[in-house]
């Protein structure tokens, strides 16, 4: 039977009379937890931002018609040469159309799928931007801009103008920031583009697009699906790409495989397309956790040290408590309670300090050409970090307090009383 009220009051008296040591021990925990919260919030915030930079713009499954040679050359299916050794020189890609056959029904079919959040048509085409006598090569992509904005955060990358203004404009273009700079064009100006076949169209700049990836911004522009179809002189069912966004990214690979089989198209899932990217994220997370863990372990040793010293100082007290009828367990609980109080107070203070530091970092301006949508350093305020932080504070102080308190439990009062 343990009298918790009594044990708590003794622990409290010990802590308060040694307030200096107590605060140093608690500050160790506070520092550890505070920096863990700050670090992990900042690092995962940055990670998240970098992830978004790629992932938001990348469809989970990208469906298109690959230009490639036939896997089986005609001679292989010719019965008479079945057992012969056939050599085909200068294999050419199969003659095929760039557009996806029956694209609109496929999109409808995909949109009905429960796993799919949205499937959007795109038309990708090569064009030239014409500035006087100079022609700059580039890409024009026809999109359903409002749906792109809602599914792929497209609006984040429009630095001037709005998605809405492109949507309502029949001959508008969202010009890449790099090209706009090269050609000294600004919002409201007109730009002439020419298709590969040589037709020239004037388009009005209703917005500037900046992805943060310079190579892309130097060539890429966007227009409405219908505008591009008109420029190319193609009908309304002319679609070259379908971008699919899923509810769960894990379903990307199976869905891509299914689409490839079902429709005889090429479908690439996001994980295959960005494998190296995934690795980077994993390693950055690993570093974050390694550093945080180190901080917390250092704090744990601080507590261990201070409790150990406290117990050496309190040898006489331990002996007298035991002589007057406190059991070894009572004495152990007195010191465990102190460790846990230090952990709890230090941990909660750490969470508060971590939150304050995070908020401060969140206010620091962070403007870079590469990241048009970011104004301040990104911070991840995931509540799980706070749960992990306080749990770790409790666990580490518990462990750090356990060994010294076990020693206190085992101290033989006779040895101390006689030793004087």
């Amino acid at each position: 039977m343990i009298n918790w009220k009594l044990i708590l009051s003794i622990a409290k008296t010990h802590l308060i009379t040694k307030i200096k040591q107590t605060s140093i021990a608690a500050l160790g925990v506070t520092f550890g937890i505070g920096s863990y919260i700050t670090l992990v919030g900042f690092m995962t915030g940055l990670n998240g931002m970098l992830d978004d930079l790629i992932l938001n713009q990348t469809p989970h499954v990208h469906i298109f018609n690959e230009i490639e040679p036939s896997e089986k050359q005609p001679v292989a299916i010719y019965k008479e040469f079945e057992n012969a050794f056939n050599i085909v020189h200068s294999v050419k890609p199969k003659q095929t159309q760039r557009k996806i056959h029956n694209a609109l029904p496929i999109i409808q079919h995909l949109n009905k799928d429960k796993l799919v959040r949205g499937a959007l048509p795109q038309i990708k085409t090569q064009i030239f931007y014409i500035a006087g006598s100079i022609e700059l090569g580039g890409n024009l992509t026809g999109i359903e801009v409002l749906k792109e904005a809602s599914l792929f955060n497209f609006e984040d990358y429009i630095t001037q103008g709005t998605a809405e203004s492109l949507h309502i404009s029949d001959n508008g273009i969202l010009l890449g920031a790099g090209i706009a700079e090269k050609m000294s064009l600004k919002l409201g100006d007109r730009v002439q583009i020419s298709t590969i076949t040589g037709d020239i169209f004037p388009l009005k700049i209703v917005g500037i697009y900046q992805s943060g990836i310079a190579d892309l911004d130097n060539i890429q522009s966007f227009a409405n699906l219908k505008t591009v179809q008109r420029i190319l002189g193609e009908p309304e069912n002319y679609i070259t790409d379908i971008n699919v966004k899923l509810y769960d990214i894990e379903n990307a690979l199976p869905l891509a495989k299914k689409i490839e089989q079902q429709f005889n198209l090429t479908a690439i899932d996001i994980n295959t397309a960005n494998a190296q990217f995934e690795t980077g994220t994993t390693i950055r997370n690993l570093i974050t956790y390694a550093v945080s863990l180190t901080l917390l372990i250092v704090a744990g040793f601080g507590i261990y040290n201070i409790l150990n010293m406290l117990i050496y100082e309190k040898m006489n007290d331990i002996a007298i408590l035991k002589a007057t009828g406190f059991s070894g367990k009572d004495v152990q609980m007195i010191f465990m309670t102190q460790a846990i109080i230090i952990g709890l107070v230090g941990g909660i203070l750490g969470l508060i300090i971590g939150y304050i530091l995070s908020s401060v970092i969140d206010q620091i301006p962070f403007q870079t050409e590469a990241l048009p949508t970011i104004a301040t350093y990104p911070i991840n305020y995931n509540p799980w970090f706070y749960v992990i932080g306080i749990s770790f504070a409790m666990i580490s102080t518990f462990l750090a307090g356990y060994l010294p308190s076990l020693k206190a439990r085992k101290i033989d009062p006779v040895n101390i009383i006689r030793g004087q």
């Binding site: 009594l6 008296t13 009828g325 070894g328 367990k329 009062p413 006779v414 009383i417």
Partner: protein, 224 residues
Amino acid sequence: MKTVLEARNLNKYFEKPVLFHVLKDINFKVQQSEFVSIMGKSGCGKSTLLYILSTMDTGYKGELYLNDKLITGQPRDELSYIRNKHIGFVFQFHYLLAEFSVLENVMLPAKKLAEKSNTEIKHDAVEKLRILGIENLANKKASRISGGEKQRVAIARALINNPSIIMGDEPTGNLDSYNSENVFNIFKQLSEEQGLSLLVVTHDKDFADKTDRIIEMGDGSIIS
């Protein structure tokens, strides 16, 4: 007369540094309200005996009875409880908890026993301090009072749970003659007026001569 404490065939060995027979076949009884002192030269084993009798040292052979109940071989928690309820201690060095007030020091064993409410315990503690004439010190910190006062606080603490026996390990060894006298008188009074048994290890011949009985020890045995 009722026997409070009885030792039967107590033997103890120290194994380090070499095997040494400290206590040899100790047999004795302490009756209710008897004031017994144990005397002997340094190293004759009298303190060792006291710690065995106090239940803190369990590494011995033989049997120990408190109020006719065998306490040899009881689990540690049970022994803690017995110390708490039935045995009061006074040491040579005063061993108060320095961070606590005098009153809290006296109250602690009773709070541990938890048989009474906090207000009752406090009332008892003040009462014990009053018996010892130091109730004016109640709210002082234990580290701020004189040696003689500390020893009286220690006695008050030993009394708080109304134990069957009080044991002392040279309780006056560290006090001047005035305070020694004082402590002796308190012990005497407790034994006479409250029927308390006392067992005190001492070097002080004058002190021992005034007690009811002297157990003289030499080389681990009782001589007389």
